[in-house]
């Protein structure tokens, strides 16, 4: 029980605020209104917050962690524990999430946006017999210019959960980290990993108070629950959006390039695909979307999630792909011509 004492665990059943309207819950000193205006009593779901009123306290990783490539962390390593975000700093208390009064901000922004933000990306994910495939391009755009041609849009959350990100990169990166932290806390408290469905619900509820603000996160969570044997129903792919949407499905594509990707995927995705076919289909869909969509491009990342965890394919440049295909086309054309001559 020491862990719970440290977290200031409160008995959720005594909290009688469930049926009270939002207007009565503006009391700032009580941090159980953690998630802003519309509090759901989430402490019954295993999350608990201390009563301290210090401002938002984010965990700063140790220097050793920073030297490790972020792409490598979480990758399957049979020697280490199934879940390894970071070793805790010995002098840090367990981080807790408590907002100062007036946070999150109200719906109407006081500071205007410097430029219009949109989901300039192509990400996709689908389920098949061999697990879940997640793919995304790597172009970060900023109002017409390419801010980064080699960004990472698929972020691992833990060894068996990967999330694609779309929307504002900073928001997505931050909320993925917060989600990773909450899942780790859940695992420590309850001794088991939270399912993908639970993680999606958790993320959706965390994002809900920010609805109406400029926060923009559209993620698909791809995970594997249970062990080798498929104990749970095929509940591995969820789409979560900062406007509050949470959908379970077998195929999702998000971003400005998603219609192009959908048309390729709808023609090819079947349950019985082999792993190679699925990967090549995912690459093809991203390739076609990057061809047509200005805000998608550069490279493609493909992740494959199975019962053993996630594996990452090496990043591939699509420009070279285009070149090869063109060369291939020309070769075929020349062959045809030479046949007729």
């Amino acid at each position: 029980m020491a862990l719970q004492d440290l977290c200031g665990f409160k008995d959720s059943f005594l909290n009688s605020r469930w049926n009270f309207p939002a207007s009565h819950r503006m009391a700032q000193e009580d941090t159980s209104m953690l998630f802003g205006k519309r509090t759901r009593d989430i402490s019954s779901r295993g999350l608990s917050w201390s009563n301290s009123e210090s401002p938002l306290h984010l965990y700063i990783p140790a220097a050793e962690y920073l030297s490790e490539s972020p792409i490598q962390f979480g990758q399957i390593n049979p020697n280490t524990a199934p879940y390894h975000i970071t070793p805790l700093h010995q002098d840090s208390t367990l981080p807790f999430l408590s907002f100062p009064p007036g946070f999150p901000p109200s719906s109407s922004p006081s500071v205007p946006l410097p430029f219009p933000m949109s989901h300039g990306t192509t990400t996709l994910a689908f389920m098949f017999q061999g697990g879940v495939i997640a793919a995304a391009d790597t172009r970060s755009s900023c109002n017409g210019l390419v801010a980064c041609p080699a960004s990472q849009k698929i972020l691992p959350v833990h060894s068996h959960l990967v999330g694609t990100t779309s929307g504002t990169s900073a928001d997505c990166a931050l909320w993925k980290r917060i989600l990773a932290r909450e899942l780790r806390l859940y695992q420590l408290r309850h001794g088991r990993r939270l399912s993908t469905a639970g993680a999606a619900k958790l993320l959706a509820h965390m994002l809900h108070p920010f609805k109406g603000t400029e926060l923009c996160v559209a993620a698909t969570l791809c995970g594997w629950d249970g062990g080798e044997v498929e104990t749970c129903p095929l509940d591995r792919l969820y789409y979560v959006c900062s406007d509050g949407t949470r959908l379970q499905g077998a195929l999702f594509s998000v971003g400005s390039g998603s219609p192009y990707a959908y048309s390729v995927l709808d023609g090819g995705v079947r349950w019985g695909l082999t792993v190679e076919e699925a990967i090549s289909l995912a690459r093809e869909a991203v390739y076609r979307a990057t061809h047509r969509d200005a805000y998608s491009g550069n490279c493609v990342d493909v992740y494959h999630i199975t019962s053993h965890g996630w594996t990452r394919r090496d990043r591939e440049e699509l420009r070279e792909e285009r070149l090869w295909r063109k060369v291939g086309q020309n070769l075929v054309l020349n062959l045809h011509l030479s046949c007729f001559l």
Binding site: W18, N19, P21, A22, S23, K37, R38, R40, S106, S107, A204, H208, K211, G212, Y239, C241, D243, G244, T245, R246, L247, Q248, G249, F252, S258, P259, Y262
Partner: protein
């Protein structure tokens, strides 16, 4: 873009909802269930703004279940409808109103079947038949014309099919399938999904 419909009979309530979850021009999900089970004999059908629907409906659902846990008996459909409306009204003038349109259908032991229409301005009306969405403009007059209070179950399903065929014929958006459920004294029954055949 979404569609809900409810028809109350002598001793049952028939409800249907479309199955599309859309984001701008793309159908993200084609088998979305928009009905939330509040108790054995009460269903809440919820459409509206993307995240608000599920959040609000689940909030009501869990609170109804909590009431049952605390007090040992379930809320009647009338009480549940009024509770839902009260929550909508309380949030209406806050900074974060819920933009949702609802139908609540239930069967009470003493009062019989009931269909309650609620909208995002927290209006509440008990009605013999009701519909939400753009499709309602096209189908309410069909319901006006053919509805009788003493409809049998089959007649009610036929009336529902008439409405859906009209939608298929005239509504600009394609709604490929509809979930249908029926509530009577024995509880909630799932009827087979209605899939309108290609347009006339």
């Amino acid at each position: 873009m979404e569609y809900l419909i409810g028809i109350q009979g002598q001793d049952f309530v028939l409800v249907a909802a479309d199955n599309v979850a859309a984001h701008s021009i793309v159908k993200m999900k084609q088998d979305q269930d928009k009905m939330f089970k509040l108790s054995d004999k009460i269903l809440l059908l919820c459409v509206g703004e993307a995240g608000d629907t599920v959040q609000f409906a689940e909030y009501i659902q869990k609170n109804i279940q909590l009431y049952k846990m605390r007090n040992g008996y379930e809320l009647s459909p009338t009480a549940a409808a009024n509770f839902t409306r009260k929550n909508l009204a309380d949030y209406l003038r806050s900074r974060t109103p819920y933009h949702v349109n609802l139908l609540l259908a239930g069967f009470d032991e003493t009062d019989g079947p009931g269909l309650y229409y609620m909208d995002h301005l927290s209006a509440l009306a008990k009605a013999p038949f009701a519909a939400h969405g753009h499709g309602a403009y096209l189908t309410l007059s069909i319901l006006d014309r053919y509805y009788r209070p003493d409809l049998t179950r089959d007649e009610a399903v036929d009336l529902l099919k008439k409405c859906i065929e009209e939608l298929n014929h005239r509504f600009i958006l394609n709604l490929p399938s509809f979930s249908v459920r029926l509530i009577d004294k024995d509880g909630t029954h799932d009827l087979e999904k209605l899939i309108p055949v290609g347009s006339k």
